[in-house]
Structure formats: structure tokens, C-alpha cells
């Protein structure tokens, strides 16, 4: 059996009717029948097709652009260069209320900062003509020195990549986090380990290339269909940069084909598509090719982490010092957020009272790093967990027991500054050990064969919101119709995780109606309440809680209306299975439709509830077991089995939650073993912008996964105690694999991806050392 879910419900305080059941997801009928409409499926009468001209240098000033040949091509309707578009400095990922946005982008600039940056755009009657016109645009560049590494860009005296940027190409002032007395801690240590970890450049590689369609109506209002996780941020930025009020921009997202964090940004295309549509007076569609989706997309931040920790003989961590340096690429995007979150994460996971951390983020002339599932924590916990494994061995502890001994627990201060609720991490580690017969497996004989097996455990924790970096807000409107059915109007975007199903389950549970009685209105900024976007593992936690509050508001109104009909007090009423029932001393009941529907001479009641939720923070936890097989002749690492144990407070939809975990594991196996978006360090050119050359684990590579979900530490802030799950799996799997590789072949790697070539070289050097 490939997968199953088993839920430990240690804290069942009530029986649920809809929550916790794998109901049929409300969005999948459209998806499996091909009727789901994605932005790229929108076709409008008279629609033009747009394409972007991209730079073939990494760093240069634009001396001139000659568009005459492109404009002369039959079928070309408009060409835009930096001379034709508004020059408004804006943030690539404009989180409102975030203290750390970086305003460093123009729609088009007279300078390019990375290979593949858009320098012009064409609209034509067909995509093919637009492509031909793009090739006819002649750009003359005045080259500037390319700074491709964090070392080159942050050297004293390095030329600035952004005119008004900070010294030495820093995206933000360095982040410092200090707790306790690190020097004293190191003085008490019996063992000090110091390592540098080097992290590659995986990209989200969502299946749906970036695409948008723009249309202006006769009243000067723009409608944009686009693939985004944060429709209201797209609306806000378009309005700001194009100089129109918010009520003149409508952003529509019916379905989107994955985002994994990266689709919080704007990608030049939204502005250019809108401007081309305004200039031509016709709808315009702009779709990236897969190559462009690599070139103009967002990656995880590559970087270096220097980590030093002091341990005592009895297995405590007494000091932790780290310098985290991320490569932001050409623009700031999520650099500030990732640096803050990734650095602060090192205060936690494994307990240590004395920490001194420093985080930096550096502009380089390389592809833009942005938000990607795991948001800085993938990198820093990879380093932290690998060092824990190494320390355990040196101190004579079992690595899993050592992690359990040091696991954060209830009341410890989390990276956000909040006390941790429950003992989720310890629960996960204990469960993963039980489930896999960890100690027995560790004692297993290891034959000196060509293919060697090893096992490892990796741990993580992750917040279910972006607080305190961003003060988030979720909003929902719930209406009950006169037949007792319900409409949920939510700002929460649907990335494909099943969020709208989970929200509907929460509303159904709260209102005592069947799941099928709830329908969802979403994805249109003119209709739904404001929402910050779908990211930070917060859709169920934040949007779900807002929906729950709105539903509770409607329930209160229903009970007030039903009370006189049932000759009871509202406090003695409940809604169950679509009936309003008297709960004490009587079994009187009426159908919901009778309670709220029209009566003689009276129209139906209009029941509307509104919910607004501003969360603080909760943390979810995971421990992953991985078994690998290393081929000592080819260097190839196969992941044979993964057992992920996640503690997520309350499971709303088990299959959807497990699906998040398994998909995260897939992407995490990718960045640990094969995925790396590589640039040529001599000229900044992208070397593998295609699915053939950017190697992701596919059906033949994916191991069997036995998913286990715990509900042992529900969060009082989440709906029914639910916390997030989206990002957690991708953080834990990497260290589990690297630790398992060590167990198999006795080589500790301090980087990702760990490629077959490096495995072979490491085995060779190890053999040489042994010989000497």
C-alpha cells in the first residue's frame, strides 16, 4: 500500500460531523473533467497575444532599443519599452503591513540586473507574430560588471546593483538575534562543532506557467485574470503603479496551477499586459513559456550558513552561533522576510538558551529568489538538524533520542516570541521511532555491498502564519439562504491545496448543516472580502477561523429567529443535521428552511455573518524518517521509504492534509538530491531552464510514503485547534535524507543537492583516507 492516514486523536473533546472527514473536495469535479478555468483558458473576442523581450546579458545599461522593425511587422499592434511605461518604483512582493518590503523594481528599467529580465513587450494578433516581433527588437547594451555570488557582491567596494541600495549590496540591514550569553555557553561546552553549509537554488516549478489576460472596459476599469496566490496584492500594486484607484482594478483567479509561494510576486507581465491592453483597446493575453517561467520566475534563496554549537557531555546544547547569508538575486522580493524568518528559526527547534544569530541577504546579478514553501527555514533547519545528527554521534547518543532530548516543548519561546503550545515535536519524534522500529533498524547488520542502505530522521517546526513579520487578516462572509443552504464568500485563494473544501467543512460544522449545503464564492476582488493571500501555511488557520467566526455569527441569528417559533430561549437551541432543535427538556425541532424561509406575508430572512480574524502565531511540528539506498558504483541515491509524522492540531480533511505532506516530500527530495537551477558564473546565463535539465523526482523516483498525522497540540487560535501543514513537510525531509546517506556510507555532506558525482567523489576520498 502506497499511503494511508492514521490519525491519533488524543484530544477529542467533541464529536465532529464534517470536520475531520475526507469529504469529496468541492473543486475536484471541475479539475478531473477539464472544466476548471485557469487564467490561461480565458479567451475573449478580439484578444491579442503578448510576448516579452528578455535580456541576454546579466548586468548592463540599455544604450538604445530599436523597435522599428518589430512595429513594421504585419499583425503587430503595440510595442512597449522602458520609455513608454510609467516609472514607479514598487515592491516585487508587496505585502501590505509588512515592515520589510523592498521597493526596488520598475515595470521596465533602462538597466538590466539579471539574465532574462524583461526589457520590452509586444502585442500582436497571434502569439507567433508576437514572438517574431520580439526577435526583431534590437537592444544595445553597455555592459556592467556581473556580480554572481554573495562573496563578489558583498565585498567592500562592490559596485551597487541598485542605485539607492545599502552598502555592499545588502537587501536589508543585517538581522541580529541574541538570547542569553553565548560566550559563557561555549566556555561550558565539552564539544564544539563548527561547519559551513552551502545551499543550492531549487525553484518551485509549478505546472502552470505564469499567465494573465487583461481587459479594460469603456469606463476605464481593468479586469485581469491571472495566476496568483495574492489577488488583492496584485490589485493594489497594479492600481498604485498604473495610477488608478482600487475600484478600477478587478483581479480574477478561478483556479491556479500551483504556486508554492512564488506566485505572491508580480512578474512584470501583469503591468505590461495591462498597459498593452489599454494602448490597443483590445484584450491582451500574455503567457510565459516554460523557459520564461524559469528565467523570470522565483527560486528558493541559495545561501551559506555558518553554524557553531557547543554541547555538553550529557547531551545539552549550551551555545549556538550562526551567520546566515542568502543570495537574493537581482531584486529584493521576499529577501527581508526570508532572512528574518530563516534566521530567527535558529532560536528554536532544539532548545538552547544562548544564541547569537546574524542574517544577511545580498543582491547579485542572478535570478530572483522569492518566496518558496519553507521560506528560509528549509535552509537553516537543514544545517541545524544535520549538525544535531553529527553531535549525537560524537557524544555517543542515538540521533533520534538526542533530538528528542533537545526538542522544544510547551512554554519554550518560539521564534515569533510566543510560548509554544504542547509537546508536538517530541510527540512526532517518539511516534516516528515507534512506527519504524527505529532502534531495531539501527542495530541491523550492514553488509559491505555495492548498494548500501541507511536510515535517518529529520525534524522541523513551522509557523501557521507570517506573524510577527506581517500582521495578517482573514475575512469571510457567510450567507444563509431561505432553504437553509449556505454561501461562503471568502478572500482565501485556492492554490490547489483544498482550502475551500476545508473552509466549507468548518462552516458546515459550525452551522450544523451537511457539507454539500455549503457553496463557495471566491477568486474575484470585486466580490470577496479583502484577503492578504494564500501563503505562510495559513489558509485553514486564518481563512478557516474567519469563516468559522462568520458562520458562528449566522448561527446566532438563526437561533434568535427560531427561538419564538420553538417557544424556547436561543441558548437552549442548536442546529443539527439541518434542523434547529431544542436541546433541553424537549425534542421539539423545525427545519432550518422553516426557521429562516418566507412565512405568510413575510419575506425570507436575510442572514449574513461577517468574520474577521487577525491571528498571532501557532507552530506545527514534524519528524520524518527516510530510508535511502546509495549505489556506491554510480553515486545515485534512491529514497526507498519515507514515514512522515506531523502534528497539526486538528485535521480538517485528512486526505488533503496527507496530500500536502506527500507533495512537500516530493519537492524536498528534489532539492536534497537533484534540483538546482544553475547559472553560469562567468556570464550569469541560466544553464537549465527546462524540465529536461532541471531534474525533479517523478513517478518512478518517488518512494512509498506512510503518512501519520497527530492532533496532540491543538492551537487555541485555529479553527477547532487546526494549524498549518503546507510548508512543514519540505523542511523535515531534507535532513532526514542527508542523515540517512551518512548512515549508509559514512559521509557527511554539508550542502544540497547531494548529486551522484559528489557521492562518488566523497566515497573515493574516503577510500583514499582509509588507505593512508
Amino acid at each position: 500500500m502506497n499511503t494511508y492516514e492514521r490519525i491519533d486523536r488524543d484530544l477529542s473533546d467533541r464529536d465532529f460531523t464534517v470536520v475531520g472527514k475526507s469529504v469529496k473536495r468541492s473543486d475536484t469535479l471541475e479539475k478531473v473533467t477539464g472544466t476548471a478555468r485557469y487564467a490561461g483558458d480565458v479567451a475573449l473576442p478580439g484578444m491579442l497575444h503578448a510576448k516579452m523581450k528578455r535580456s541576454n546579458v546579466a548586468h548592463a545599461r540599455i544604450r538604445s532599443i530599436d523597435t522599428s522593425k518589430a512595429l513594421a511587422l504585419k499583425g503587430v499592434k503595440a510595442v512597449l519599452t522602458h520609455q513608454d511605461v510609467p516609472r514607479v518604483l514598487h515592491a516585487g512582493s508587496p505585502h501590505p503591513r509588512s515592515a520589510s518590503v523592498t521597493r526596488d523594481q520598475y515595470i521596465l528599467d533602462d538597466r538590466v540586473r539579471y539574465w532574462g529580465e524583461g526589457v520590452a513587450a509586444v502585442a500582436a494578433v497571434s502569439e507567433e507574430i508576437a514572438e517574431r516581433a520580439v526577435a526583431l527588437i534590437e537592444v544595445e547594451y553597455e555592459p556592467l560588471p556581473g556580480l554572481f555570488t554573495i562573496e563578489a557582491a558583498s565585498e567592500p567596494g562592490a559596485p551597487p546593483i541598485h542605485e539607492n541600495g545599502l552598502d555592499r549590496n545588502h537587501v536589508l540591514p543585517p538581522v541580529f538575534v541574541t538570547r542569553g550569553d553565548v560566550d559563557k555557553g561555549f566556555a561550558e561546552a565539552d564539544l564544539i562543532l563548527e561547519r559551513e553549509y552551502d545551499l543550492g537554488r531549487p525553484t518551485p516549478a509549478y505546472m502552470e506557467p505564469n499567465v494573465c489576460v487583461s481587459q479594460w472596459d469603456g469606463n476605464g476599469k481593468l479586469t485581469m485574470w491571472t495566476s496568483t496566490q495574492s489577488a488583492f496584492m496584485v490589485r493594489g500594486t497594479l492600481a498604485e503603479v498604473l495610477g488608478v484607484p482600487l475600484n478600477k482594478v478587478r483581479v480574477v483567479v478561478d483556479h491556479m496551477g500551483g504556486g508554492f509561494g512564488a506566485k505572491q510576486d508580480l512578474f512584470q507581465n501583469e503591468f505590461l499586459c495591462a498597459l498593452l491592453a489599454r494602448q490597443t483597446g483590445r484584450p491582451v493575453r500574455m503567457e510565459f513559456s516554460r523557459k520564461e517561467t524559469f528565467l523570470g520566475g522565483r527560486s528558493r534563496h541559495p545561501g551559506k550558513i555558518w553554524l557553531k554549537q557547543g554541547f555538553t557531555k550529557d547531551g545539552r546544547i549550551v551555545a549556538r552561533e550562526a551567520r546566515v547569508t542568502f543570495n537574493s538575486g537581482a531584486y529584493g522580493s521576499h529577501g527581508p522576510g526570508v532572512t528574518n524568518v530563516g534566521t530567527a528559526a535558529l532560536t528554536s527547534l532544539y532548545r538552547c538558551e544562548n544564541v547569537r544569530l546574524e542574517g544577511r541577504c545580498i543582491y547579485t546579478n542572478s535570478p530572483i529568489a522569492g518566496a518558496f514553501r519553507g521560506y528560509g527555514v528549509v535552509q537553516t533547519y537543514y544545517a541545524l538538524d544535520l549538525m544535531m545528527d553529527e553531535a549525537a554521534e560524537k557524544l555517543g547518543f542515538d540521533p533520534a533520542e538526542f533530538k528528542l532530548m533537545n526538542a522544544v516543548r510547551e512554554g519554550d519561546i518560539a521564534p515569533s516570541g510566543h510560548p509554544i503550545v504542547g509537546h508536538g515535536l517530541g510527540d512526532c519524534i517518539r511516534r516516528v521511532m515507534e512506527e519504524t522500529n527505529w532502534h531495531e533498524l539501527r542495530r541491523r547488520e550492514k553488509p559491505e555491498s555495492v548498494k548500501r542502505r541507511g536510515i535517518g530522521i529529520g525534524c522541523e517546526m513551522h509557523g501557521s502564519s507570517a506573524y510577527p513579520g506581517i500582521k495578517e487578516q482573514g475575512n469571510a462572509i457567510v450567507k444563509m439562504n431561505e432553504d437553509g443552504t449556505v454561501t461562503l464568500i471568502t478572500g482565501t485563494a485556492g492554490l490547489g491545496t483544498g482550502a475551500h473544501t476545508a473552509l466549507s467543512q468548518i462552516v458546515a460544522e459550525e452551522l450544523g448543516v451537511p457539507f454539500e449545503a455549503v457553496s463557495v464564492v471566491q477568486g474575484d476582488t470585486d466580490i470577496v472580502p479583502w484577503d492578504i493571500g494564500a501563503f505562510a501555511s495559513h489558509t485553514t488557520y486564518l481563512g478557516g477561523r474567519a469563516a468559522q467566526l462568520a458562520a458562528a455569527d449566522v448561527r446566532r441569528q438563526v437561533l434568535e429567529h427560531a427561538a419564538p417559533l420553538l417557544q424556547a430561549e436561543p441558548a437552549d437551541l442548536a442546529i443539527r443535521d439541518g434542523f434547529v432543535v431544542v436541546t433541553s427538556g424537549s425534542n421539539r425541532s423545525i427545519r432550518l428552511s422553516e426557521a429562516v424561509g418566507p412565512k405568510r406575508g413575510m419575506p425570507a430572512m436575510q442572514l449574513v455573518g461577517v468574520g474577521t480574524y487577525m491571528p498571532t502565531k501557532s507552530y506545527s511540528f514534524a519528524a520524518h524518517f527516510a530510508e535511502v539506498e546509495v549505489d556506491t558504483e554510480t553515486g545515485e541515491v534512491a529514497v526507498l521509504e519515507v514515514v512522515p509524522v506531523h502534528e497539526i492540531g486538528r485535521v480538517i480533511h485528512p486526505i488533503a492534509a496527507a496530500g500536502q505532506i506527500e507533495g512537500g516530500i516530493q519537492q524536498g527530495i528534489g532539492h536534497t538530491l537533484s534540483e538546482d537551477y544553475v547559472i553560469d558564473l562567468t556570464d550569469g546565463r541560466s544553464l537549465n531552464p527546462s524540465f529536461v535539465d532541471y531534474k525533479m523526482p517523478l513517478s518512478m523516483d518517488m518512494p512509498s510514503i506512510r503518512t501519520i498525522i497527530l492532533e496532540t497540540a491543538p492551537d487555541p487560535g485555529g479553527p477547532y485547534g487546526a494549524k498549518g501543514v503546507g510548508e512543514d513537510p519540505i523542511i523535515a525531509i531534507g535532513p532526514a535524507i542527508a542523515n540517512a546517506i551518512y548512515d549508509a556510507i559514512g559521509v557527511r555532506f554539508h550542502h544540497y543537492p547531494i548529486t551522484p558525482e559528489q557521492v562518488l567523489n566523497a566515497l573515493k576520498s574516503k577510500a583514499n583516507e582509509t588507505r593512508q
Binding site: K24, G34, M207, G498, I655, Q666, S699
Partner: protein, 161 residues
């Protein structure tokens, strides 16, 4: 210069006017208004555009539209026996959570159909092999494989395919 290409799409005779250098994928999506078939890469790497052509699964982005002259094409839109009844594969993908973002789903379902048409009792390895050219980035494939296996089992029980 556009050419008229005749083909049978989901049981219906269609004539699509396409330029000789355009692909079957573009013809289906643009001229045929059948947008259920997705464009994930346009170069045959991802399988999102898988359709069944004369009984065999193909990447519609690697077939020129004019090559489909006279061919019989099945797309995701033609799979349902009737408007209110999804195909068994579609039902099983819904039940088992085989679709997340859904962008790869039509291609994967068509590939799974082609597999089950050939081999009604595939092993897990055979399913994984059949789907080797279909990239899914959301699910880790676990639930897709569950859905295909469940379909095969039910079809065997029913004694029909």
C-alpha cells in the same frame, strides 16, 4: 496560411482551421475551445497535454495539427459518459485526492485511461512507469497511484473496462 484539418474529437467530426506549423495542442485549445488539455511546457517534457490519438497516448504539443488529419482524438472533455456522471477514473481521482492544483490532472487521467485500456490489471510499478512522462508537482504521486489502482480494481470487479 491556415489549412482545414478534419478529425474526430470526442466522437464529433470537427474541422479546425490551423496554420501548418501549429500543434494539435494549440488547435484543440484555441480553434477547438477544448481548454481542458493543458500547456505546461510545449516541448514534450511534462505530459500535461496528453490526449489519446487513434488509441494511443500522445503529447499533443509534439503532434502537428495537420498530422491529425483523419485521426480520432480523445480529450479529457470526452471522458464522461454523460454530463452528470463522471468516468470511473474521474470519480476515483476525486475520492482519493488525486488532483490538487489540477493542472496536470487531465493529462494524467488520459494517460491512465490509455494504460487501463491496454492493461486492465497494472502493478504499482506499471502504473509508475506509465506515468513517468507526466509531471505532477503537488501530490508526490501517492494519491494518483491510489486512484488508478482503485479504478482498475473496480473495473475488474465489474468485469468490464
Amino acid at each position: 496560411m491556415n489549412r482545414l484539418v478534419s478529425m474526430t474529437v470526442n466522437g464529433e467530426a470537427r474541422e479546425l482551421a490551423v496554420a501548418p506549423n501549429r500543434t494539435l495542442l494549440d488547435a484543440l485549445r484555441n480553434e477547438g475551445s477544448l481548454t481542458g488539455t493543458k500547456k505546461g511546457c510545449d516541448v514534450g517534457d511534462c505530459g500535461a497535454c496528453t490526449v489519446i490519438m487513434d488509441g494511443r497516448p500522445v503529447n499533443a504539443c509534439l503532434v502537428l495539427a495537420i498530422e491529425a488529419e483523419g485521426a480520432t482524438i480523445e480529450t479529457i472533455e470526452g471522458l464522461q459518459p454523460s454530463y452528470d456522471q463522471p468516468h470511473l477514473l474521474q470519480q476515483k481521482f476525486m475520492e482519493h485526492g488525486g488532483a490538487q492544483c489540477g493542472f496536470c490532472t487531465p493529462g494524467i487521467i488520459m494517460m491512465a485511461k490509455a494504460l487501463l485500456d491496454e492493461n486492465p490489471d497494472p502493478s504499482e510499478d506499471e502504473i509508475r512507469f506509465a506515468l513517468a512522462g507526466n509531471i505532477c508537482r503537488c501530490t508526490g504521486y501517492t494519491k494518483i497511484i491510489d486512484a488508478v489502482r482503485a479504478t482498475a480494481e473496480e473495473l475488474r470487479k465489474a468485469g468490464t473496462l
